[in-house]
Amino acid sequence: MASSIPAPVPAEAARAGPARRRRGPWLAAAGGAFVAALVLAAVAAPWLAPRDPIRQSLRARLAAPALAAPDGPARLLGTDHLGRDVLSRMLYGARVSLVVGFAAVLLGGVVGAALGLLAGFRGGFADTVIMTLADAQLAFPFILLAIGIIAVLGPSFPTLIVVIGLSGWVGYARVLRAQVLVLRSREFVDAIYALGGSAARIVLRHILPNVTSSIVVIATLELARAIVLEATLSFLGLGVQPPTPSWGGMIHEGREYLDSAWWISTCPGLALMLTSLVVSRTGDWLRDLLDPTLRGE
């Protein structure tokens, strides 16, 4: 497929001025801090949320964002069509995004890294099969397959994690394969062989540490993709099911009230957009920082 022909993409990082290079670590750290804050907010949701995210209140339906409420804590981001507090639901919704996101990245990373190491180190038949599978998957609008599988198996947390996780293995496999191909012809590999080291030892103790930074970079970029994919599936009604709050589900619920109560969809949507932007930019900065050669992959 066309994607297998490397397009000549310039290594912009190499040409970037010193100011930009000095800024890189700070930006990456800021991105990391954002994710850490989000994780904290999600973990501490029961204490941070001003109200119960599931409790309905028909008298407070479609209440606009306000700094004070007559009956308890203020509804800073308003309420939805069932009178549930939008801010509280967003905090709980972050849990879904992050749990599915991190679990999917972990699954995709383990599978993709294992297959990439295998294909690169062993070569031969295993390599051919793995790379054909990777090409086939890239040749496929994955959202359609995900929708098909989830429609058949029924939406649930594990299904969601497996489908999103397996959608991401190709990225790891292709990059690691290419790097292992270079690494395995280096002298230190021959040296370990000569000293009697096994293949497993070479791969796990000597090659894996050399590709860790690539794995971290890809995982960060994949995290942004997984979070957006989860929200998309929830938006289509194929993700986490109500009443559990999720950002995609909230955007879906607020769609019908867009004209009268814009905040229901817009608040979780902006949170999603910001998260996606910050996480993927953090991935870019990490790449420039750790491994500029990855550009163009």
Partner: protein, 308 residues
């Protein structure tokens, strides 16, 4: 000449293997979905009737036989009858296809017409205000979730400003927001890649030579730079065409656009699996064909991409 045949043959073999893998995945997923017969019959149908329909659909035969029959049917474009529409699935999907093509091609055209000049401009005026503004926007466009972008557009341009219709298919006005939504990601990607590809070429020796011999800047940029930067731009643009069709599922749902993507989602809710399979298979096929053509174009345009 022989090398060319080998090249085309290998690409074709790969495309065919992919088509086969896709149809196998579709078959497996369909088997996982369980027995479709109860969906076809009224709930109080007698057992004998269930067995009759099962035999009629060939579901009582061994799995390998069913798989063979399925592959043969797919090759003939037969995906079975739609449960909801009571028509061959292929015919139903065929009827919805023009709307998706209209949307997809408009989005694609919009993306290319906007993104390539924007990318070129921001490369030539590197680090200017225009560069920072457009590339910032492109970053947002690249990471914004499609479905939320669509909702934001509806909120701002339809409901608040009242400029454009919120949903449905009709005149050109109906096309603007869905095409912008669907094309946003492609636009952002193409603009960013055009910028970096042009920047790369602008630093090349022959560009310095062209400037040194006194050519007008316009000639240097358009004739010497854009032509040489064209290959990566063509590649990513072609790849975007394929992903656009996949992205149509979400966009069509948001804008109630009567295309195959929305049809697929509705069919999932109706448990109308023949339609879902047909849409999945057709989209994958389009994607594979686009990639195949792209490989050929690439090989023809750039001798370096040909196998020796």
């Amino acid at each position: 000449m022989r090398a060319l045949f080998v090249f085309v043959g290998r690409r074709l073999a790969r495309a065919l293997v992919t088509v086969w893998l896709v149809s196998t995945v579709v078959f497996v997923v369909m088997r996982l979905s369980g027995d479709p017969v109860p969906l076809l019959l009224p709930p109080d149908a007698p057992r004998s009737e269930i067995f009759r329909v099962r035999a009629e659909l060939g579901l009582d035969r061994p799995l390998p036989v069913q798989y063979g029959v399925f592959l043969a049917n797919v090759a003939r474009g037969d995906f079975g009858r739609s449960i909801h529409f009571r028509e061959p699935a292929m015919r139903v999907v065929w009827g919805y296809l023009p709307a998706t093509l209209e949307l997809g091609l408009t989005a694609f055209g919009l993306a290319v017409l906007v993104a390539v000049p924007v990318g070129l401009l921001s490369a030539v005026r590197r680090n200017s205000l225009v560069d920072h503004a457009t590339m910032g926007l492109a970053l947002v466009g690249q990471s914004a979730p499609t479905f939320f972008l669509g909702i934001l557009f509806i909120l701002l341009f339809s409901l608040k400003a009242g400029l454009l219709p919120t949903s449905g298919r009709g005149g050109a006005a109906h096309l603007v927001l869905p095409a912008l939504t669907l094309g946003a990601f492609a636009m952002a990607s193409v603009a960013r890649l055009t910028r970096s590809a042009v920047l790369e070429v602008l630093g090349a020796d022959f560009v310095r030579t062209a400037r040194a011999k006194g050519l007008a800047e316009r000639v240097v940029v358009v004739k010497h730079t854009l032509k040489n930067a064209a290959l990566p731009i063509v590649t990513i643009t072609g790849l975007q065409l394929g992903t656009l069709l996949g992205g149509a599922v979400v966009t069509e749902t948001v804008f109630a656009w009567p295309g195959i993507g929305r049809l697929a989602i509705q069919s999932i809710y109706n448990r109308d699996y023949p339609i879902v399979q047909c849409v999945v298979f057709l989209s994958a096929l389009v994607f594979i064909v686009v990639n195949f053509c792209l490989d050929l174009v690439y090989g023809l345009v750039d001798p370096r991409a040909r196998p020796r």
